[in-house]
């Protein structure tokens, strides 16, 4: 056990699985870097350095740089998965899904079903999401609700280095297509991460705080806000349970419903836009299946129905904050 960052945890997961299984390959723009260039090899290791060092260990045959042609190379990862590889392809920012979504949602997601169960597509698509880096409208979106909507895809959203590693190893070993969301503001987050390989199973939520008054269901980076608020409210004797579903598809409905049964109050915090979001999705789950447990209206905290603004002053106002979450929980306790 050692302290590692979210980035290091991901790198380690990829490295361990590549060592274990020769069919695992990695591909993406500048995933090694320096391809065809006169300078250093493995010059980048991906734009955030997550794949750094893999090429020197596994060679260019297993760590492939790509042209800027997401449809072609994500589609190639999908096709290769059907034919026996376990590719991990990087869609650098999830905001770029618009140039390659077909290969993900009509091909990878549907093959097994359309082919009557006679195919499997063990592909992982790693992608970066979320706000906070002043990266503006086309590089800050969450968009996991769009992928969660699509049957046939699995969607993982690790909030911690531990989960990042365990979910990534599970994603690679999983026989279904997995969209793996890495929050760009979490790469430097440290945490305890065992050195050996382990998996975090999909569809198992993690309960990061326990309390009897309010349940907060939080996704990705929002889990840290929720933890912070729970810790703060504990001092005022308000008990908060924080549920981090870790994967939105499959979704651990049971843990969420159990928590709500216990607390009777629920706040859902989702960094995505509000409409047809995970906030809405969980609200539906609870309102349909745990209605009689509820002591108060369901509350949701999301980004507003606007693109992500550039200016720091605006982005700070845009993102869900711990302060607003805390106020929402407090107001729910008063209701």
């Amino acid at each position: 056990m050692a302290r590692k960052t979210y980035r290091e945890a991901l790198n380690e997961a990829l490295r361990l699985e590549m060592r274990r299984d020769p069919t695992v390959i990695v591909m993406g723009e500048d995933n090694a870097g320096g391809m065809g260039a006169p300078g250093e090899d493995d010059a980048w290791g991906g734009v955030m350095g997550v794949t750094k060092g893999l090429m020197p260990e596994f060679g260019r045959e297993r760590v492939l740089d790509t042209p800027i042609s997401e449809s072609a190379f994500i589609g190639a990862a999908v096709g290769a998965a059907v034919m026996g590889l376990r590719p991990v392809a990087e869609l650098m920012f999830v905001d770029f899904m618009g140039v390659c979504f077909d290969q993900i949602f009509n091909q990878a997601a549907k093959f097994r079903y359309m082919f009557g169960g006679r195919a499997k597509t063990p592909v992982v698509i790693r992608t970066m999401y979320g706000g906070g880096l002043r990266a503006a409208s086309q590089h800050s979106q969450c968009l996991y609700p769009l992928f969660t909507h699509i049957p046939g895809l699995k969607v993982a959203l690790p909030a911690t280095p531990y989960d990042a590693k365990g979910l990534m190893i599970q994603a690679i070993r999983d026989d279904d297509p997995v969209i793996f969301f890495e929050h760009k503001a979490l790469y430097d987050l440290p945490g305890e991460v065992p050195d050996e390989a382990y998996t975090v199973p999909f569809g198992e939520a993690s309960i990061t705080r326990e309390g009897k008054d309010v349940t907060i269901v939080a996704f990705g980076r929002m889990v840290h806000l929720a933890n912070e608020v729970a810790d703060r409210l504990r001092r005022d004797k308000i008990g908060v349970t924080v549920v981090d579903p870790r994967t939105t598809s499959p979704l651990d409905e049971e843990t969420i419903l159990d928590a709500v049964a216990e607390t009777g109050r629920v706040v859902i915090v989702d960094e995505a836009h509000p409409r047809c979001s995970m906030a809405a999705d969980i609200a539906r789950l609870v309102a349909e299946q745990a209605f009689d447990d509820l002591k108060a209206p369901i509350r949701t905290l999301t980004a507003p129905h606007t693109p992500v603004p550039f200016s720091p002053a605006l982005e700070d106002a845009y993102l869900p904050s711990a302060a607003r979450l805390e106020e929402m929980v407090r107001s729910l306790m008063r209701a």
Binding site: T23, I25, E61, R62, L64, T66, P67, S69, S71, A72, F73, I74, G75, A76, A77, V78, G79, A80, A81, V82, M83, G84, L85, P87, D102, Q103, N106, Q107, K110, F111, R112, Y113, M114, F115, G116, G117, R118, A119, K120, P151, G152, K154, D174, D175, D176, G203, P250
Partner: protein
């Protein structure tokens, strides 16, 4: 399918088998045409009749290491790659015993075990997947190649064009086959395709040839070169195969955009089956009577497939929920 020595010195067995495949496609499609008109088949159906020399000229040189991706017009590619016609017919009926258990239908018919990675409802959906199949073959060193069948209309899709570049940059064993039947729906390729297919390939540094798609042997020869290059590590190629479809874009299309008499003339003068028979009969290897016998056999086979499909059960409603994931 047994391999041939050189393109113009094929074995009798090879020729009979090639003809069987082409004639099976033709018969299959003609029966589907009738069945659709009779209201027996649900959904959207696009027929391959007229284009048989392309699928068979190419797939007759592929084996179980090799994979193909197809289009919405996929029945011919299926049969050429060895899919079971009874399973196919059942699939078109939406029956439980179909190749895809009734879940895919004509537009998504597939048999991954046979290297047939699916018809595709998305124009341009196949080429990236073919790059992937080629990458798998290359990485796993199977010696396999991948063939992406694409229509003239599909040649304008960005996914197709990107794939040319990726295949070249990664030096993948893939062959892009542009089956140019002159139309994308009602739109002529003469209008929609700026430049030329061969010129485009050249622009990406990829060897390419235009091929007479009514001539099985021309297709065979061109594909032989391209497949050989791919197997030898020489990277991707493109074939621009010029041919024609005999039926509408989809079943139900009145085809008012075509010239009067266009299809009749094509059938009379350019039919790939007729040309094959003529050429082979001239060589003396196979007699006309043998072809006729083969065709009767095939007709029976297709009739049996129809009967089996008619009799097969619909999938049970619970089957809606299965096969979404391997595990969930």
């Amino acid at each position: 399918m047994p391999d041939a020595e050189t393109p113009l010195q094929h074995s009798r067995d090879f020729l009979l088998e090639a003809y069987r495949r082409m004639a099976t496609i033709r018969r299959f499609e003609e029966r589907v045409h009738e069945l659709f008109a009779a209201g027996k088949l649900p959904g959207f159906v696009h027929l391959y009749a007229g284009e048989e020399a392309s699928a068979v000229g190419i797939c007759s040189q592929l084996d179980e290491r090799d994979a193909i991706t197809s289009t919405h017009r996929g029945h011919g590619h299926c049969i050429a790659k060895g899919c079971d016609v009874t399973g196919m017919m059942k699939e078109l009926y939406g029956k439980a015993g179909g190749l895809c258990a009734g879940k895919g239908g004509s537009m998504h018919i597939a048999d991954v075990d046979k290297g047939m990675l699916g018809a595709n409802g998305i124009v341009g959906g196949g080429p990236p997947l073919a790059c992937g199949a080629a990458l798998a073959a290359k990485t796993l060193k199977t010696g396999g190649v991948a063939v992406a069948f694409v229509g003239d209309g599909g040649s304008n899709q960005g996914t197709t064009l990107e794939s040319y570049n990726l295949a070249k940059v990664w030096n993948l064993p893939v062959i892009f086959v542009i089956e140019d039947n002159g139309y994308a729906e009602s739109t002529a390729s003469a209008w929609s395709v700026a430049g030329s297919q061969v010129g485009r390939a050249a622009g990406f540094g990829m060897p390419a040839r235009e091929v007479d798609g009514f001539d099985f042997f021309a297709v065979y020869d061109a594909a032989r070169e391209a497949i050989g290059r791919a197997r030898a590590g020489g990277g991707p190629s493109l074939l621009h195969v010029k041919l024609a479809r005999y039926f509408g874009h989809f079943e139900g299309d009145a085809m008012t955009y075509r010239a009067p008499g266009e299809i009749e003339r094509l059938r009379a003068e350019q039919d790939c089956l007729a040309r094959f028979r003529k050429r082979v009969a001239a060589s003396g290897l196979i007699e006309e009577g043998e072809f006729a016998a083969l065709e009767r056999e095939i007709a029976d086979e297709i009739e049996a497939a129809v009967a089996a499909a008619e009799e097969d059960a619909m999938p049970p409603p619970e089957a809606v929920l299965t096969d979404v994931y391997v595990s969930y």
